[in-house]
């Protein structure tokens, strides 16, 4: 938060050891804590939601089923019936890991683990490696033919092949930076406007009146962040689906 007359907008992304020296030895910070919380929330949502096993579902069960059907539809429609079903749990895990991370990170006193490039890049590189392995599994060495577009003049190959390879390799980078940058930008803005509110409120009556503006902005920003959090999780999941579709049948 604000300290003195400066705004520490990036301090919220700092990692601190938890559970004392024991946690420090295990390199435990608030990031793994919130990853575990997010996963537990998603699992609890599914377990408690599906507990009644009702034919006519209640609210929570209906929500659990809708989320299941939504991600399943996403995977099956993009990748295909058979392979989409095989990849569905992975897509579901990715989507809800990111979504829960983004949303829980919006709560006060919490932490957004998707705002770390190391985390998002780890996820993106996992998707990238799975895509390459899937491509090799289903297409064999024919996979490498895609780096030379069909019908293009052979003379252009010295230019085309590096471009294609570069665009392929840039996928995990763009995938990870998109999520990371969106989350960082949103949280920096929230922090800056929150700091403005506090600083202006410290300036007396006029400041109190003026402080309303950043507060209102922050409320609107929170709504925007709810949209961004969902959208980024969706984008990550759908791009993974598209990459996997390319990997299974090209």
């Amino acid at each position: 938060m604000a300290s003195g007359s400066t705004i520490d907008a990036l301090g919220q992304f700092e990692l601190h050891p938890i559970f004392g020296s024991f946690g420090e030895a295990l390199r435990l910070s608030q990031a793994p804590l919130f990853m575990a919380i997010s996963s537990a929330v998603v699992l609890a949502f599914l377990y408690f939601g599906m507990k009644p096993k009702a034919v006519v579902p209640g609210r929570l069960q209906a929500a659990a089923e809708v989320s299941y059907d939504f991600v399943r539809g996403l995977a099956v429609d993009t990748i295909g019936e058979e392979k989409g079903t095989a990849f569905f749990p992975f897509i579901f895990a990715l989507f809800f890991f990111i979504l829960a991370g983004n949303y829980i990170g919006l709560l006060p006193f919490s932490y957004t683990f998707t705002s770390h490039i190391a985390v998002t890049f780890a996820m993106a590189i996992t998707v990238f490696i799975i895509c390459i392995l899937t491509s090799l599994r289903f297409q064999g060495l024919g996979f490498f033919k895609h780096f030379m577009p069909e019908g293009a003049p052979v003379a252009l190959s010295p230019i085309l092949i590096p471009i294609e390879i570069l665009s392929y390799i840039s996928r995990p980078i763009s995938l990870s930076i998109r999520l990371f940058a969106n989350m960082v930008a949103g949280h920096v803005l929230l922090e800056v406007f929150a700091s403005f509110t506090i600083m202006l409120a410290g300036l007396g009556v006029v400041g109190d009146v003026l402080a309303v503006t950043p507060l209102v902005l922050n409320i609107a920003l929170t709504a925007l962040e709810l949209l961004v959090g969902l959208l980024q999780a969706y984008v990550f999941a759908i791009l993974t689906c598209i990459y996997l579709r390319e990997a299974v049948d090209h």
């Binding site: 007359s5 990031a31 990853m35 089923e65 985390v119 996820m123 009556v205």
Partner: protein, 194 residues
């Protein structure tokens, strides 16, 4: 506090301070040497794998089971309803057929009764007609007999009447002449009649 240049400066200070601080300390996300930053990737991978395994082995199959059970249930209910409808259709068809058959039977019965009755009436009428015919015939023969009797007696009566008349008128009567005259008159009369 009034809106002084000093106030504005202090309000604008954070904006100016922000980039400077960010550059000075850098983003914590880029401190790749931080053991906590490295640790979170390892922990994250571990948590994600556990999360994935729990989802794919336990949580998602539960949802799938419930959805599948519902689909099976709906399908079986639909099948049941379809079968019931088929049975009902069949029963209705049978009922219609039975009704048609009963109606035809009834028509046939009515027809046969009508025919029997008509036949009976006809027979009765014929019998009556035959009886009447016989009665008419016997009556006619009786009439003819009576008439013949009467006709056979007429000459005698006429002769005796003519004898009596002739005796009264002329005092004498030749029986033979009168009989011939009566015979002639009778013949003439019969000729006239026919």
């Amino acid at each position: 506090m009034r809106l002084t240049p000093r106030f504005l400066l202090s309000a604008a200070a954070p904006l100016a301070a922000l980039p400077g601080r960010a550059v000075a300390e850098g983003m914590p996300q880029l401190h790749f040497k931080d053991p906590l930053l490295q640790g979170q990737v390892v922990w994250g991978a571990l948590i994600f794998i556990i999360f994935y395994l729990l989802l794919s082995r336990s949580a998602l199959p539960r949802v799938a089971d419930v959805i599948k059970a519902r689909e099976t249930r709906i399908q079986s209910d639909l099948d049941l309803a379809r079968r019931a409808r088929k049975d009902a259709d069949q029963a209705q068809k049978e009922l219609c057929e039975a009704r048609e058959k009963a109606s035809e039977d009834a028509k046939a019965t009515i027809q046969s009764i009508r025919e029997t009755t008509r036949e009976a009436i006809r027979v009765q009428a014929e019998e009556t007609a035959a009886r009447l015919e016989a009665e008419i015939k016997s009556a006619e023969s009786q009439i003819a007999l009576s008439r013949n009797n009467a006709l056979s007696n007429i000459n005698e009566i006429a002769s005796s009447t003519a004898m009596t008349l002739a005796e009264r008128l002329i005092g004498t009567a030749d029986e033979k002449v009168i009989a011939a005259a009566v015979e002639q008159a009778h013949a003439a009369g019969a000729e006239h009649v026919s």
